[in-house]
């Protein structure tokens, strides 16, 4: 970080915090493996401090009442990790409660071959538009940013509407590299259903969250005793989608909102369910989530997409985890419209550093960024090795930016 001289202005606070144990030695030496706390940003910022303190007390008491330690729970949302780190919530968690971020970063779990397809198209001269962080995510050997540096046309957009505006403004074909979970896939679906310009094509790397929770829960070395479900993905799917999951895996699920108090309240309830051995789904975000979810959005999602198995970066093949355009929309499907030549990309070997990347184990909850020798040393936001350090929703990036570290 500081030693490498690559940090940009404004990050000094986080970097100093990360280096507070001294700049000498390797990243692994700097970070002994021990319970997680937050440091520099750990001042709690509850809008109702009394309620925050009461919930923190209830959480400590409930976790102690479980009678074994540590107790590990997983959330599956980059926005939850942002809020936990941003508002310093880990300092309010009892040390025996490990709150682990699972595969909740849509950018991070987009697999290398999917990025390769976008890079190959860009290098073939096709204009690409995609959501911001996707540009810097490495494929097998190159990112869209690399292709852009070579002269390819790559545009960052914040919505599919902006990509449509780009296609309307110029006659050349434009491929929208569509990434994100169901919250974002529904927007792609709605745009497709309302009609697209003739030069607009979709390269879908959309992913569907519920199936990956099954895979993570089934991992033989999983220590996860309960899940916090992402409130806005559940706004679309409804909380009922988790009932069969709970039945199959005998672990409780609590749906949570994104404010610090929402997250603390959800963890208290999850700890109670674990303590009392109650396997059920509870919805602690009723202002946005219903049992059946947003049926209007679901109908559009499944009119446009069909679930198909596919790899999630570094984790596993996830049955039904990817969203592919239905045959009815094949005329919009970039994979069918263009001959995507991947062979040239595979001539370039992945960097040796990328082979040490721990993103897969981090996203499946088996490791934390602090277990990675590259974290904060060879892998930093300005020069990321793995996708988790690229995305604003990646565990490594969030921990790096907010100075989360081990004590």
């Amino acid at each position: 970080m500081s030693a490498s001289g690559t940090e940009r202005p404004g990050e000094a606070g986080a970097s100093e915090a990360s280096l507070s144990e001294g700049p000498e030695g390797t990243a692994a030496e700097r970070r002994p493996r021990a319970p997680i706390i937050d440091s520099a940003t750990s001042e709690l910022k509850f809008r109702d401090p009394d309620r925050g303190a009461a919930l923190a007390g209830a959480l400590a008491q409930t976790v102690a009442g479980i009678g074994r330690a540590p107790v590990s729970v997983m959330h599956v949302c980059g926005s939850h990790e942002q809020a936990i780190a941003r508002f310093g919530l880990r300092s309010a968690f009892p040390p025996d409660l490990h709150v682990i971020m699972g595969p909740g970063c849509p950018v991070c779990i987009t697999d290398q071959p999917e990025v390769d397809e976008a890079v190959a198209l860009a290098r073939q001269g096709v204009r690409i538009a995609t959501y911001g962080d996707m540009v810097r995510v490495p494929g097998t050997a190159a990112s869209l940013a690399d292709a852009e540096a070579e002269g390819a046309r790559v545009d960052v957009v914040y919505s599919i509407d902006q990509a449509i505006a780009l296609a309307n403004a110029a006659p050349d074909p434009l491929v929208f590299f569509a990434t994100g979970f169901e919250t974002t896939a529904v927007a792609t679906a709605a745009a497709i259903l309302s009609g697209l310009p003739a030069n607009f094509f979709v390269l879908s790397a959309h992913k569907y969250i519920p199936p990956v929770m099954e895979i993570v829960a089934e991992m033989p070395d999983s220590r996860i005793e309960g899940f916090v479900a992402a409130g806005h993905a559940a706004t679309i799917t409804g909380w009922g989608v988790f009932e069969a999951f709970v039945e199959r895996h005998r672990v409780p699920v609590v749906v949570a909102g994104f404010e610090p108090l929402d997250i603390l309240a959800a963890l208290v309830r999850l700890a109670e369910l674990i303590r009392d051995r109650i396997c059920t789904v509870e919805n602690l975000f009723p202002r946005c989530v219903t049992r059946e979810g947003n049926l209007v959005a679901q109908r559009q999602l499944w009119d446009v997409f069909t679930p198909i198995g596919g790899r999630w970066r570094g984790i596993a093949h996830i049955p039904n985890g990817n969203l592919r355009l239905r045959d009815r929309w094949s005329h919009l499907d970039a994979r069918r419209r263009f001959a995507i030549d991947l062979t040239r990309l595979w001539d370039d070997a992945p960097s040796s550093l990328s082979q040490q990347c721990q993103c897969g184990d981090i996203m499946s909850g088996r490791k934390t960024p602090a277990d990675c020798a590259l974290f904060g040393a060879d892998c930093v936001p300005e020069n990321p090795v793995g996708a988790c350090m690229v995305s604003s929703e990646g565990t490594c990036r969030i921990w790096h930016e907010y100075g989360v570290q081990h004590r």
């Binding site: 404004g10 990050e11 910022k45 809008r47 949302c77 980059g78 926005s79 942002q82 809020a83 941003r86 849509p106 950018v107 959501y131 911001g132 957009v157 914040y158 919505s159 599919i160 509407d161 902006q162 994100g180 979970f181 919250t183 974002t184 529904v186 927007a187 709605a190 259903l193 309302s194 992402a230 806005h232 993905a233 706004t235 679309i236 909102g257 994104f258 404010e259 610090p260 108090l261 202002r287 946005c288 947003n294 049926l295 209007v296 959005a297 559009q300 604003s392 929703e393 990036r397 969030i398 930016e401 907010y402």
Partner: protein, 91 residues
């Protein structure tokens, strides 16, 4: 990418709502929202679409966090994501 941002509907024309996001007016598409939306309602915007009409109760709690994040510098990771949600809407 899944955080969204809440705003208050000012007026509606067909499938487009003019929405006030903490003093910034933007257009949001309504094809995905599953309840009738009227001026005065709060909606949750994600990548240019309303995905939920938020009930009036508890809305102040929801707004408080976003109000704070929208006033943070974009060097703050979470604030930048919330501000990105506004960039995805039509002006």
């Amino acid at each position: 990418m899944c955080l969204g941002v809440p705003g208050r509907v000012i007026e509606i024309h067909d499938n487009l709502a003019l929405v006030d996001f903490f003093g910034v007016s933007r257009q949001v598409r309504l094809e995905l929202v599953d309840e009738p939306v009227a001026p005065g309602d709060y909606i949750l915007n994600h990548v240019g679409f309303a995905i939920r009409r938020i009930p009036e109760r508890d809305i102040e709690g929801t707004l408080a966090m976003y109000r704070q994040l929208l006033h943070e510098a974009e060097t703050d990771l979470m604030a930048a994501d919330v501000q990105g949600e506004l960039k995805g809407t039509r002006t």
